[in-house]
């Protein structure tokens, strides 16, 4: 039975339709006009317990609005949502007990108090026992180095510290279903790595995760399934491995030659591959279809012929695939 099920989930907002300038402002004052804007357009989504799902899309695609619908903050204009059998909007308080939410762009820490005070208030809100609270804080400290800034005022934290503290706030009650909306936004590489490692542990422990992120490394490292949305509707829903297998059909090798590469000559000699000049004159990139040629086969022939001093193999990333999905070059 799915832990989360959304059917035909739709959210329409009403926006003022106001012409620019002074005239537009006066006209809008006298005669108000509004336009409907559909942020989420008939989304179907079903998540099984323990799944880790990446929910991605370009800016304005409706990711955050979907999260707000799934967490009960917003009421759908149409369609239904059930989280653990409950309507998250009408049964908001009961639903909130079992979910953890992090909005990367909004902190849930009390800004003018130490981090510890926020966590203690959350302990009371969720009815976490003293023993569980201590154990979880100790675990967060071990994985996120929380202890170093527990006594610090929230407003004095760095962005990385703030995000780690917010993550602890979202997970202090060991929720079954966790929504993370841009949890690594603005963080440096080392903090991102620690957060991803922490999230992988969370998933390994059986927590169900829905993650939205623009950082596709978050997605590849933490999630097994990906849902791509664009203009409020689902563009792809399936395993990340399948997305890669389906859409990543080529591989590329960059060869570092001893002298300048003659790309037209290579194109004539090896027409079964695609050739492109590299960044330096002695660099050349060869792209081949992974279904037709094995990497060993390609390299065997080319290294014997061209004797490169070095080479590097690259697979197109999930980022390339998603970029092409957004651009409408690929279909479901």
């Amino acid at each position: 039975m799915p832990i989360l099920e959304a059917r035909n989930l739709t959210k329409t907002f009403r926006r003022p339709d106001k012409a620019s300038g002074f005239k537009g402002a006066v006209k809008h004052l006298a005669q108000r006009k509004y336009k409907n804007y559909t942020a989420v357009d008939g989304i179907d989504l079903s998540i099984e317990p323990g799944e880790s799902v990446a929910y991605v899309g370009p800016n304005g695609a409706g990711k955050s609005t979907t999260v707000k619908l799934l967490t009960g903050i917003l009421r759908p204009s149409e369609g239904t949502v059930r989280v653990m059998g409950r309507d998250p909007h009408t049964e908001r308080i009961a639903n909130a007990h079992d979910i953890g939410v992090l909005f990367g762009q909004r902190t849930q820490l009390w800004w003018d108090l130490p981090v510890e005070e926020s966590l203690k208030l959350l302990k009371h809100m969720y009815g976490v026992s003293d023993a569980d609270y201590k154990a979880r804080i100790a675990r967060f400290d071990e994985l996120l180095d929380l202890g170093e800034f527990m006594p610090a005022l929230a407003r004095t934290l760095s962005l990385g510290q703030r995000m780690r503290a917010d993550l602890a706030c979202a997970l202090i009650h060991a929720p079954k279903m966790v929504y993370l909306d841009e949890p690594t936004i603005g963080l440096d590489i080392s903090v991102k790595d620690r957060l991803r490692a922490f999230l992988r542990e969370l998933v390994d422990d059986g927590t169900t995760l829905l993650l939205t992120s623009h950082d596709l490394a978050d997605i590849e490292e933490v999630c097994e399934r990906i849902v791509v949305i664009d203009k409020g509707a689902v563009a792809y829903d399936g395993p990340i491995t399948q997305l890669k297998a389906h859409y990543i059909t080529t591989k590329a090798v960059k060869l570092f030659l001893e002298e300048a590469a003659d790309v037209p000559a290579l194109e004539l000699k090896y027409p079964q591959y695609e050739w492109a000049a590299g960044e330096a004159p002695s660099e050349v990139v060869v792209t081949y279809e992974s279904a037709r040629f094995t990497t060993a086969e390609v390299l065997g022939g080319l290294t014997a012929e061209l004797s490169p001093r070095d080479l590097s193999l690259s697979e197109p990333s999930i980022e390339d695939v998603i970029r092409r999905l957004y651009a409408g070059e690929l279909t479901k």
């Binding site: 903050i73 917003l74 009961a94 939410v101 909004r106 009390w110 005070e117 203690k120 009371h124 809100m125």
Partner: protein, 265 residues
């Protein structure tokens, strides 16, 4: 203590600590509150030097101003901006993901926030008592009923404050709403001038609203302007307004929450 009350207590403590986190602001509030009362006393002593006006002599006015100071501190000392800001900047979305009754949590915060005004009330009243020696209540019963009325000002003040904050869901601004509330409250409660100084039609309008219970009701009971039966009637009306606003706010919140439109993350 049940867990629900433990959560209320935790919210109240957090709100209290947040008020104390800004010590200078808190101290300025204390000084300004006390200073405003002293100015009011000086003004009324001058005005009433020629004798009583509309049933208030200098003795009665000294008690009236002190009661007005206590209730004004309760109403204007609330951290309503903190709730309004959360609605306006979208942080209310985070509050809605927590397993707590939004209104009850805000009420607990209100109580915590009010506790930070206790020193203002204590120092202000003690100072006024020493400087102006106001008369006591007309009877022990009147004293007890005045205390009940002052206690009822808490839920009443929360109701008014919370309702005006909820208006932010529609107006998307708070400043104008707050000014309107404070102007209506100051005028129709009798904090600015006693209602007895107003024409009868204006008094009738005032008594159709909850505002007179903020100052006029407790002072009328204290000074014996109403008998015990009249005092009980006023207290019943005050309690009815407090209950009505509590339940009315729930209905309004159910509508307001549909207006949440937090875009962009």
């Amino acid at each position: 203590m049940s867990s629900a009350f433990a959560v209320d207590r935790a919210f109240a403590v957090i709100a209290f600590k947040r008020r104390l986190a800004y010590k200078t602001q808190w101290l300025v509030g204390l000084v300004l509150g006390g200073g405003a009362m002293l100015v009011s006393m000086a003004m009324w002593r001058e005005l009433l030097s020629g004798g009583a006006l509309s049933g208030y002599d200098w003795d009665a006015m000294r008690a009236y101003v002190i009661i007005g100071f206590i209730t004004a501190t309760m109403v204007f000392g609330a951290a309503d901006w903190q709730i309004a800001d959360r609605i306006l900047d979208g942080h209310v979305a985070i509050d809605l993901t927590k397993p707590v009754d939004f209104q009850r949590a805000r009420a607990a915060e209100y109580i915590g926030s009010m506790c930070s005004t206790v020193p203002t009330v204590v120092f202000g009243v003690a100072g006024a008592w020493l400087l102006f020696d106001p008369p006591g209540p007309v009877s022990v019963t009147a004293g007890i009923l005045t205390a009940v009325s002052l206690l009822l000002v808490f839920p009443l003040a929360f109701g008014i404050t919370y309702l005006t904050v909820l208006v932010c869901f529609w107006t998307k601004r708070y400043l104008g709403v707050m000014w309107l509330r404070e102007a209506l409250l100051g005028f129709f409660s009798g904090m600015m001038i006693p209602l007895a100084f107003m024409p009868s039609w204006l008094q009738a309008i005032a008594w159709a609203l909850p505002f007179p219970h903020f100052t006029t009701t407790p002072s009328a009971i204290y000074l014996g302007h109403v008998d015990t039966a009249g005092a009980l009637g006023l207290l019943a009306a005050e309690a009815a307004w407090a209950a009505g606003m509590w339940f009315g706010a729930r209905l309004i919140f159910n509508q307001a929450v549909k207006k949440v439109t937090v875009h962009g993350g």
